[in-house]
């Protein structure tokens, strides 16, 4: 079947893609700049279209725990929110990771800290990638840079989530959530009617009871479980790294940027190349697992790297860890909801690495 072309907001694209991907349940609570996800779903009435359950929860905490419940039944379930709401979900996320449940969480980031503002930012990187909740766990983190990515990553996300029994986070931002762009939508996949064997769907005579829990009071058991988790994360690091390169072949400098910043930096590369500066862009698509190996390879042959993020500098630490001192790594970012411009990036690159403007 052919893909359908639409002009949609990133938030709407996620919602429509969720219906088409055969998602079983969405549980959310309004917050700018992502409320359109819930609104679109309610308007689209997916219960009629596909039987999908859509529920406006009483809070973000209720929503993430509904996700826990639905995911525990082996269903494809998701939630979405923006920064303060995602902070509230941290305990729930840690539980989901600890119970090894597959699910999709969308963070349409706004600037913080606190109530902050509703404009786009990338200042939740640490929370997403290092673990905002307690304990040693990781989310698989996907960073969309377009409305098309918003649509596509729903399916990608659920595939990864179920493959690894691990929560997947789409780390977007207010710009991508609110903007409209062209998007090609995939045809509808029917909702699944078979469930993973670990799911709580009612204990039949043919199997032992299924238990969804993150508790093991015995430290030896708990440590074994943690080793199992770490082994899973190692697998993920080995198999699931995704990134995009733009003009890196002959580059002397590499910009590293994800999401909205990556779009901006693509333009910066063009501008800089126009000025004779050999710059390339590496855009991590997965933030966990991070493309450390590739960055470390590139570090062998370039003069410097600039991490461009709408934050005070968070991803730059992962770049530094990957580069491990081989070449200088710097950070440039705007904060507070301001989106960096392509020119600023070029100017900064020149100031920091080439000297003078």
């Amino acid at each position: 079947m052919e893909k359908e072309l639409r002009l949609m907001k990133g938030n709407e694209a996620i919602a429509e893609a969720a219906i088409r991907a055969g998602v079983d349940g969405y549980f959310g609570y309004p917050i700018t700049p992502q409320s359109e996800i819930l609104e679109y779903l309610m308007e689209a009435n997916p219960y009629e279209r596909t039987g999908m359950v859509v529920l406006q929860a009483e809070s973000e905490i209720a929503a993430i725990n509904m996700v826990y419940g639905g995911a525990g039944c082996g269903k494809k379930v998701m939630t979405s929110s923006s920064s303060p709401g995602i902070s509230l979900k941290q305990e729930g996320i840690s539980y989901i990771a600890g119970a090894e449940l597959p699910c999709l969480i969308v963070n349409v980031v706004r600037a913080g800290p606190g109530l902050g503002t509703i404009q786009p930012a990338q200042s939740d990187y640490f929370q997403s990638v290092k673990g905002g909740g307690h304990g040693d766990y990781h989310l698989i983190v996907l960073a969309p840079a377009s409305v098309q990515d918003m649509a596509d990553f729903v399916e990608v996300g659920f595939d990864l989530a179920f493959k690894y029994r691990n929560p997947v986070l789409i780390l977007s931002d207010g710009a991508i959530g609110q903007m409209m762009e062209k998007v090609y939508l995939k045809p509808y996949i029917p909702r699944s009617t078979v469930f993973p064997e670990w799911a709580t769907t009612g204990k039949t005579a043919s199997r032992e009871r299924n238990i969804i829990t993150s508790l093991d009071l015995d430290p030896d058991g708990q440590e074994d479980f943690n080793h199992k988790l770490q082994a899973k994360y190692d697998d993920i690091k080995k198999n699931e790294v995704r990134f995009e390169e733009f003009m890196c072949e002959d580059a002397e400098y590499i910009l590293i940027a994800y999401g909205t910043s990556a779009r901006v930096c693509q333009k910066s590369v063009q501008i800089a190349r126009g000025q004779g500066i050999r710059v390339g862009l590496l855009r991590p698509i997965t933030l966990f697992p991070f493309p450390s190996v590739r960055i470390s390879q590139l570090a062998e042959k370039v003069k410097g790297m600039l991490s461009v993020e709408m934050s005070a500098g968070q991803m730059v630490e992962d770049v530094l860890l990957a580069v491990n001192g081989k070449v200088p790594v710097r950070h440039f970012g705007r904060m507070g909801g301001i989106v960096t411009t392509p020119d600023e990036v070029v100017d900064t690159l020149k100031t920091l690495f080439i000297g003078g403007k």
């Binding site: 786009p120 710009a175 409209m180 779009r263």
Partner: protein
């Protein structure tokens, strides 16, 4: 080709939908587009604005601070965006309610009195399409036929009877827009 446009006015003037129709029309022409509204409680003040970028290439940032063209529908927006137009750019404004007219001399200024015209022609519903018509006249990067195509795609079937009226408004806009020379 890249055209970076801001459309700004009161909420209720159809600012966002004008932007959307513009974007849809460009999609019909196989171009890349981005449509980015000012969102959230900013709107509470009663103003609305949207950035539309139309380009033959992949668009970098949807949020920009300088524009090739500004389409301005009230005084507040004129005050806010006049200086955000790139030198050599275009300002299109509706004179209704404007007390302080544009002053920049390094840009081309056009006036389209669409509110007045809509009142006169009794078609206030398509006020924004008159403005769009004006835009198309001075920046012919999208074709009226593609606007109609876009409308057909984006409007629910039950509103398709309104398309002729829209077309009329577009054409009227093309007719009434006029350049203002600031010397």
């Amino acid at each position: 080709m890249t055209e970076e446009i801001i459309i700004a006015g009161f909420g209720g003037q159809g600012v966002l939908s004008m932007g959307k129709i513009m974007a849809y029309s460009a999609v019909m022409q196989d171009m890349e587009v981005s449509w980015m509204p000012a969102y959230g409680p900013e709107m509470r003040g009663g103003t609305a604005n949207v950035t539309v970028i139309i380009s033959s290439e992949r668009i970098s940032s949807p949020i920009i601070r300088h524009f090739d063209t500004a389409i301005i529908l009230n005084q507040q927006s004129l005050d806010k965006f006049e200086n955000a137009i790139k030198p050599g750019g275009v300002l299109i404004y509706d004179g209704n309610g404007i007390t302080r007219h544009p002053e920049r001399k390094d840009i081309s200024v056009y006036r389209v009195d669409a509110a007045e015209e809509a009142g006169r022609m009794n078609m206030s519903k398509v006020f924004n399409m008159i403005v769009l018509g004006g835009f198309i006249k001075v920046r012919p990067i999208i074709k009226i036929e593609n606007v109609i195509k876009g409308l057909k795609k984006s409007l629910p079937e039950r509103y398709h009877n309104l398309i002729p009226l829209n077309e009329k408004a577009l054409i009227r806009g093309e007719e009434i827009i006029r350049e203002v020379r600031l010397v």
